[in-house]
C-alpha cells in the first residue's frame, strides 16, 4: 500500500488548454496527507533528480506521473519507489473531441468534459498506487543445467550452444545413436552463406563434439519419464537403459524432431503399389547407397491426389459416424490417452522442406550421373524459404533439372516404366511423362503429434495443451515469438515446432537455447519470462477463502497451478506468466498480485465521478483494455489525432483473461452505463499474448450477461470487442459505436442508487 504519493504533472506533454495548476490544486485538496507532494513541472524529464530528492526527503513510496502514456517514455523514470502513469496525453487530450462529435477549440481553455476526464484519470491513478505494493520476487534456485530432448541436428546444436554459453547439458536421445534424421542426409541444402551450394553436414564432427564435451551428459536409448517442478528447478526423470535417472534441470529444449507420415496417405499416388514409387526420404537413402539406376525421375510435389483421397476418406468416415455405425469408444476417465494428431495436412505443412529437398536430390542425382539423368520437378507450390531462393536459382541451372507447375492427375504403371499425367502446366499443354522412378514428398509429422514426449507431471496433464490449430506442432504461435511453448521453461526447436530445413534447425536451436538461458536467469531472480519479462509480481492465494473450485487450475493457459487431492491450488511462480487469468476466474477473489488485484481495479472504477443526469452530463462508459494490443492501439490512435467520445474511461488490464466479473458489477453499481471489454483477436488467428485470454473472457461474458439479466440490466451494456494492435484507425469507431448504442439504450437503471 503506497501511503505517501508524489504527484507530478508534465506540462509540456499535456496541453489541451487544461488548467494544470487547478488540477494540481484539486488533487492536493482531495487527497490531503496521502499526497504530500503535488508538483507542476514544465518539463518532467528534467525533474528526475528532483523526484529522487523528494522520495528521500519525504519518504515517498509512490510516484504518479501525469502526462504521457506509460508506453511512451519507458526507462526515463527509474526511481526507488513505485511508479504509475496517468495517460493525459494520448488517451485524454490528443484523443479528445466534444461530446457532439465536433473538434474542440482549446484556445479558451479546456472544455469542461476534458477537465472532468483529466481529473478522473488523476484520481484513478492515485487510487491505483494506493492499492499497489512493491512486489517481492518468488525466487527459485535456478539450476544452471539445460535438458535437451532429442539428439538430432537441432538437439546436438542446442547442446553445444548451451554448453558454450556456460550451462551444463543433459541430452536425452531415444535411439541408440545420435544424429536423428540427419544421419540420412550427409549433404544438405546450404547451411551458411552464400546459400547457393549443397553442403556437407559434418554430422560426425558435431556428434564427437557433443560426446567429447565434459559439460554434456548423453543418455542414449532413453526417454522422458516425467518432468515436474518448475523452471529453474525442474525435476526430470529419464527412463534410461540402466533404470530411471532423476536430474534437476533449469530449463528444457525440446528438439525431438519428426517422423515420416504413414505411407498409407501416399498410397493413392502409387506408394507401395508400384515398386518404383518412393518417398524422398527413401530416395535419399538409395542415392546415398548408390542404388539409383533410373535415368528419368519425376519428383512430384503436387500431392492433390493424396489430399483428395484423404478428404474423401474423412467424409466417408464422418458419414459413417453420423449413421451411428461407429461404436462409441469408452474412455477410461482417469487415464491419459494421447490423441493421434497425424494427418494428411502434415504433407502440405512440409511443402517448403520438400521443395528444397527435392531440388537438392534432383541436382545430386544429375551430378552423380554426369548430367545423364532427367529430373522432372512437378510442383503445385515451389516454396523455398527466405534466402534459400539462392539455392533454388543455383539448382535450376543444372541441365537435367526440369521444372514446371503442374496438376499431377494420375500416376500409373505402363510396361516397365511409370506414366505421370500432368495438367495445367507451364508448358502450355497437358502431357504424359514417361519415367523410371517417381519420388514423392515426405510428410513430416512432429513427434509431439504422436506422443506426449515430455510427459509433464502437471495438473493439466502430461502433454502440451492442444489448441486444435497446429496439428501437433509444439509451437504455441505467439505471433512473433518462436520457441515458446505453453509450458514455461520448455522451448521447442527444429522440426518439432515447424518443418524446416537444416540451416533453420541450427538457427532454431540457438534461439531456443537463448530462451532457455533467459528462463533460468529469470527464475533465479524470481521474475517472469516472456511476455511480461522481468515482472517480479506473482499470484498470491488467500487460501482461507478458497473453495477448491479448481477454476484457476483448469483455466491457467500455462498449467502453472498444480493442486492437492482436495483441489487446493499449489502455485508454481516460475511457471507463471503473470497474465492474471487465475484471478479473473476466481469467484471468491482469493488471488491477487502485489501490484495488480481485484480491489485495485474495482477502486479505480469506483473513483470515477458518474453524474446523475445522463442527458445533460453524458453517460459514463468503462473500457477495460488489454494492455498488449488494445492499449497500444489506443495510444497510436491518440498520437494520430483520432478522437473518441469523452465519456469513456479507460483502464488497462494485463489480459482480458484477468477481467473478473466483479469489476463489471462494480461499474454497474457505480452507475456506469456500459462496459466495453477491448481485447485482441481470438480463434484461428489469435493474437493473445497469453494464448487464451480473450477467448476465456468471451466465455465468462456469457455468465456476466446472465447475471445482469437477472438484475434487470440489459446484457448488451457489456460488450467484448476485438482489435488488432495495428488497428488504431478502427478503434475510435469501435468506441464511438459502443457509446452510441449505450445512448440509444438510455441510462443504467442503477444510476444514482
Amino acid at each position: 500500500m503506497a501511503e505517501k504519493i508524489g504527484v507530478y504533472f508534465d506540462v509540456q506533454n499535456i496541453g489541451g488548454g487544461l488548467d494544470v495548476e487547478a488540477l494540481a490544486a484539486r488533487t492536493r485538496e482531495k487527497w490531503g496527507d496521502f499526497v504530500p507532494i503535488v508538483k507542476v513541472c514544465s518539463v518532467l524529464a528534467d525533474a528526475v533528480d528532483e523526484i529522487n530528492a523528494d522520495i528521500s526527503s519525504q519518504q515517498l513510496d509512490g510516484v504518479l506521473l501525469c502526462g504521457v502514456s506509460p508506453r511512451a517514455e519507458i526507462g526515463v523514470y527509474r526511481v526507488p519507489a513505485q511508479v504509475e502513469y496517468v495517460n493525459l496525453r494520448e488517451q485524454c487530450v490528443l484523443s479528445y473531441k466534444n461530446p457532439d462529435g465536433s473538434q474542440p477549440d482549446f484556445s479558451g481553455g479546456a472544455p469542461e468534459p476534458l477537465a472532468i476526464m483529466a481529473a478522473d484519470y488523476v484520481n484513478m491513478g492515485v487510487v491505483k498506487l494506493q492499492k499497489s505494493q512493491p512486489p517481492d520476487s518468488a525466487t527459485v534456485s535456478g539450476v544452471r543445467r539445460v535438458l535437451v530432448i532429442g539428439g538430432g541436428i537441432s538437439g546436438l546444436t542446442a547442446a553445444l550452444e548451451a554448453a558454450a554459453t556456460g550451462y551444463e547439458v543433459v541430452l536425452v536421445e531415444k535411439s541408440e545413436q545420435l544424429g536423428g534424421a540427419a544421419v540420412n542426409i550427409p549433404v544438405s541444402s546450404p547451411l551458411v552463406p552464400n546459400w547457393t551450394e549443397k553442403q556437407s553436414v559434418n554430422l560426425n564432427m558435431k556428434i564427437s563434439a557433443v560426446v567429447g564435451n565434459p559439460d554434456i551428459t548423453v543418455y542414449l536409448k532413453s526417454q522422458m519419464e516425467t518432468l515436474g517442478g518448475q523452471p529453474g528447478e525442474f525435476k526430470a526423470t529419464i527412463a534410461a537403459p540402466q533404470g530411471p535417472v532423476s536430474i534437476d534441470v533449469g530449463a528444457v529444449v525440446l528438439a525431438t524432431g519428426w517422423k515420416p507420415l504413414d505411407n498409407k496417405y501416399l498410397a493413392p499416388m502409387g506408394l507401395e503399389c508400384f515398386a518404383n514409387v518412393v518417398t524422398a526420404a527413401e530416395f535419399g537413402k538409395r542415392l546415398l547407397a548408390g542404388n539409383v539406376s533410373a535415368r528419368r525421375i519425376a519428383f512430384v510435389l503436387d500431392t492433390t491426389i493424396a489430399e483428395d483421397a484423404a478428404r474423401d476418406a474423412a467424409e466417408a468416415a464422418a458419414q459413417q459416424a453420423q449413421d451411428g455405425k461407429m461404436a462409441e469408444e469408452e474412455k477410461d476417465a482417469g487415464k491419459f490417452v494421447k490423441e493421434d494428431l497425424e494427418s494428411i495436412r502434415h504433407l502440405a505443412y512440409s511443402n517448403a522442406v520438400n521443395s528444397v529437398g527435392m531440388l537438392r536430390l534432383a541436382d545430386s542425382v544429375c551430378e552423380q550421373t554426369d548430367d545423364a539423368t532427367q529430373a522432372f520437378i512437378l510442383y503445385k507450390n515451389m516454396t523455398v524459404p527466405g534466402i534459400l531462393e539462392r539455392f533454388y536459382k543455383k539448382m535450376q541451372d543444372r541441365l537435367g533439372v526440369m521444372m514446371t507447375k503442374a496438376d499431377v492427375t494420375a500416376i500409373r504403371e505402363a510396361g516397365n516404366h511409370l506414366v505421370v499425367e500432368c495438367k495445367n502446366t507451364l508448358l502450355g499443354m497437358d502431357f504424359d511423362l514417361e519415367v523410371d522412378l517417381v519420388v514423392l514428398p515426405t510428410g513430416m509429422v512432429p513427434t509431439t503429434a504422436k506422443d506426449a514426449v515430455v510427459r509433464f507431471d502437471y495438473r493439466q496433464g502430461p502433454d502440451f495443451p492442444d489448441l486444435q490449430l497446429f496439428d501437433g506442432f509444439t509451437d504455441s504461435n505467439y505471433i512473433c515469438f518462436p520457441y515458446e511453448t505453453r509450458r514455461t521453461g520448455v522451448y521447442a526447436a527444429g522440426c518439432v515446432r515447424q518443418p524446416m530445413t537444416m540451416d533453420a534447425c541450427e538457427e532454431d536451436a540457438c534461439g531456443a537455447v537463448l530462451k532457455a538461458a533467459q528462463c533460468i536467469e529469470a527464475a533465479s531472480r524470481g521474475v517472469a519470462v516472456h511476455p511480461r519479462s522481468g515482472d517480479a509480481s506473482y499470484p498470491v492465494f488467500n487460501f482461507v477463502r478458497c473453495t477448491q473450485c479448481k477454476r484457476c487450475t483448469e483455466e491457467c493457459p500455462f498449467g502453472a497451478l498444480d493442486d492437492d487431492e482436495k483441489g487446493t491450488p499449489k502455485p508454481n511462480p516460475a511457471r507463471c506468466r503473470r497474465c492474471g487469468t487465475c484471478f479473473g476466474a476466481c469467484p471468491e477473489r482469493v488471488i491477487s498480485f502485489a501490484d495488480y488485484n481485484i480491489d485495485q481495479i474495482g477502486s479505480m472504477i469506483r473513483e470515477v465521478v458518474v453524474p446523475k443526469d445522463f442527458r445533460r452530463e453524458g453517460p459514463r462508459v468503462l473500457v477495460l483494455a488489454c494492455e498488449n494490443d488494445a492499449y497500444p492501439a489506443l495510444d497510436m490512435a491518440g498520437m494520430r489525432r483520432r478522437t473518441w467520445n469523452p465519456y469513456v474511461r479507460i483502464i488497462p488490464v494485463r489480459c482480458l483473461g484477468s477481467v473478473n466479473a466483479i469489476w463489471v458489477s462494480d461499474a454497474m453499481s457505480k452507475g456506469f452505463d456500459g462496459v466495453m471489454l477491448l481485447g485482441c483477436k481470438y480463434g484461428d488467428d489469435y493474437q493473445c499474448h497469453f494464448v487464451k485470454g480473450s477467448e476465456i473472457c468471451s466465455r465468462r461474458k456469457e455468465n456476466i450477461a446472465e447475471t445482469l439479466n437477472r438484475l434487470g440490466v440489459q446484457p448488451e451494456r457489456v460488450e467484448q470487442l476485438e482489435v488488432g494492435i495495428d488497428e488504431y484507425d478502427k478503434v475510435p469507431d469501435l468506441i464511438d459505436g459502443f457509446v452510441s448504442r449505450i445512448m440509444d439504450m438510455g441510462p443504467n437503471p442503477f444510476k444514482g442508487m
Binding site: 522432372f376 541451372d397 537435367g400 514446371t404 508448358l427 499443354m429 502431357f431 504424359d432 511423362l433
Partner: protein, 392 residues
C-alpha cells in the same frame, strides 16, 4: 485419356546452350519477357513459353514454333529479365538450331554451328577457285596475265562464260532449291496438328508475300515496333538504319549483277545491250555498284558497332551472328580492294583479292540456307504464314 507424351531431350538443351542460349536454364517463368516484348501478341505470347520448352529440351515444339521467327531480336526481354536468362539470345539460339537442322546436307549445318567447321567451309570454295585459276593459268601460260591491251581484266583468269557464271548459276539455283525445300518443310512444321479453321476472306500467299515485302521489309516497320517497348534505360543502337542500309545495298548489288549478267549473255543475242567488263568508272551501272558497296560498308559498320557496344551481361552475340557479319565484311572489303588494285594497276594483289572475293561470295550464297542469312527467307516465310493464319 492418353495425352501427348513428352520427349525431353537433354542433348538438345546442350546444343541450344552452345548455340547462344547458355543462360536459358535460369528462366523461372515469371513472364516478364513476354510482357516486355513489343511484338508479342496477347494470345500465347512469347518468349516465355519458348524458354520453358527450351529448358525441357522439347526440340519438336521449339523447331515447329513460328513465334521464334516473329521475334525481331530487339533484346528488351533480355534487358528486363530478372534472372539474366537472356531470352532474346535463347530465341536466336533456337533459330540457329533451325538453320542447322532444317535442310540437307546436314553436315554443312553442323559446320556452320561453330568455329570448328569454319576451315571446311572456307577450303571448299578456296580449292574450287584455285582449280579454276590453275586451269586458266595453264591455258594462258601465266597465273597473272594481262589483257591484250595491257589492262588488268579478271576475266582473263576467271573467265565468265565457262567458269564464274556456270558455277554461280549452279550455286544460286542450288541454294534456291534447298531454300525452297526448307521453306516447304518449315511451313509444314508451322501448321498445327489437326484441322485449322480460318475465318474470313482468304488471300493467296502471293498477295500476303507482297504485303510482307511492301509493309515490313521495304519500310523496316517491325524494327520500329520492336524498339518501342518498355524503356530499359539502355541505348538502342542504330539497328534499323544498319540493317536497312545492308538490305538496300544487297538489292542494289543484286540489281547490278542482274544487269551485267543480262548485258553479257543478252549481248550475245542482241549486241546493242552488250556490257563489257570491267566497266568504266563513269558508266551508270558501275556508279550504282560502287554506291551499293559504300552503303554496304556503312551498314556493316553500324551493325558491328552495335554488337560491340552491347551490354555484355544481357546480350551475347553467337557464332552465327559473327559469321554473317564477318563474311559480309570480307565480301565487301575484297570486292572493293579488287577494284582498287585493278585501277592502281597492281597486278598480283588485284588477282589475289579477286580470288578471295570469289571465295567469300561463294561462301555467302552457297551456305545461305544454313547460315543466319537464311532468316531473310525463313522469317519472310513465317511472316507470310502468320498473315495467312491471323497470328500477328
Amino acid at each position: 485419356m492418353a495425352q501427348y507424351t513428352l520427349q525431353p531431350d537433354i542433348n538438345f538443351v546442350r546444343e541450344l546452350q552452345d548455340a547462344g542460349g547458355d543462360n536459358l536454364k535460369r528462366c523461372y517463368q515469371c513472364a516478364t519477357c513476354a510482357v516486355a516484348c513489343p511484338l508479342s501478341p496477347a494470345n500465347a505470347p512469347y518468349p516465355r513459353k519458348e524458354m520453358v520448352w527450351a529448358s525441357w529440351g522439347l526440340k519438336d515444339k521449339l523447331m515447329k514454333d513460328v513465334d521464334i521467327w516473329l521475334c525481331h531480336n530487339c533484346g528488351n526481354c533480355s534487358d528486363l529479365c530478372p534472372r539474366g536468362a537472356r531470352p532474346a539470345d535463347a530465341m536466336a539460339a533456337a533459330r540457329n538450331m533451325v538453320y542447322k537442322d532444317l535442310t540437307e546436307p546436314s553436315i554443312i549445318g553442323k559446320w556452320m554451328s561453330g568455329i570448328a567447321g569454319l576451315p571446311y567451309l572456307f577450303l571448299i570454295p578456296a580449292a574450287l577457285w584455285l582449280v579454276v585459276w590453275s586451269l586458266r593459268a595453264a591455258a594462258k601460260g601465266s597465273y597473272f596475265p594481262r589483257a591484250a591491251d595491257g589492262r588488268i581484266v579478271f576475266g582473263e583468269i576467271f573467265y565468265g562464260d565457262y567458269t564464274i557464271d556456270p558455277i554461280f548459276i549452279i550455286t544460286f539455283f542450288g541454294a534456291c532449291f534447298i531454300l525452297y525445300r526448307g521453306v516447304r518443310k518449315l511451313w509444314e512444321m508451322f501448321k498445327p496438328e489437326g484441322n485449322m479453321l480460318v475465318i474470313g476472306q482468304k488471300k493467296s500467299w502471293i498477295r500476303h508475300l507482297a504485303g510482307v515485302l511492301m509493309d515490313e521489309i521495304v519500310t523496316h516497320r517491325k524494327f520500329d515496333d520492336c524498339e518501342d517497348g518498355p524503356t530499359t534505360g539502355k541505348a538502342a543502337g542504330s539497328r534499323k538504319l544498319g540493317h536497312m542500309l545492308l538490305v538496300y545495298s544487297f538489292v542494289i548489288l543484286a540489281f547490278v549483277t542482274a544487269v551485267v549478267a543480262l548485258g553479257h549473255w543478252g549481248g550475245k543475242i542482241v549486241p546493242a545491250i552488250e556490257v563489257h567488263t570491267p566497266m568504266s568508272l563513269t558508266f551508270p551501272v558501275k556508279i550504282l555498284a560502287n554506291i551499293g558497296a559504300l552503303l554496304m560498308l556503312c551498314g556493316l559498320a553500324a551493325l558491328t558497332a552495335r554488337r560491340l557496344t552491347q551490354d555484355r551481361l544481357n546480350h551475347v552475340s553467337n557464332f552465327q551472328d559473327w559469321y554473317l557479319l564477318g563474311i559480309i565484311w570480307l565480301v565487301a572489303c575484297t570486292g572493293i580492294l579488287s577494284q582498287c588494285f585493278r585501277l592502281a594497276d597492281a597486278l598480283k594483289p588485284a588477282f589475289v583479292a579477286y580470288y578471295f572475293h570469289l571465295v567469300f561470295v561463294w561462301m555467302l550464297f552457297a551456305y545461305l540456307p544454313w547460315s543466319k542469312l537464311g532468316h531473310f527467307v525463313y522469317r519472310t516465310a513465317a511472316l507470310v504464314y502468320v498473315r495467312m493464319y491471323g497470328r500477328s
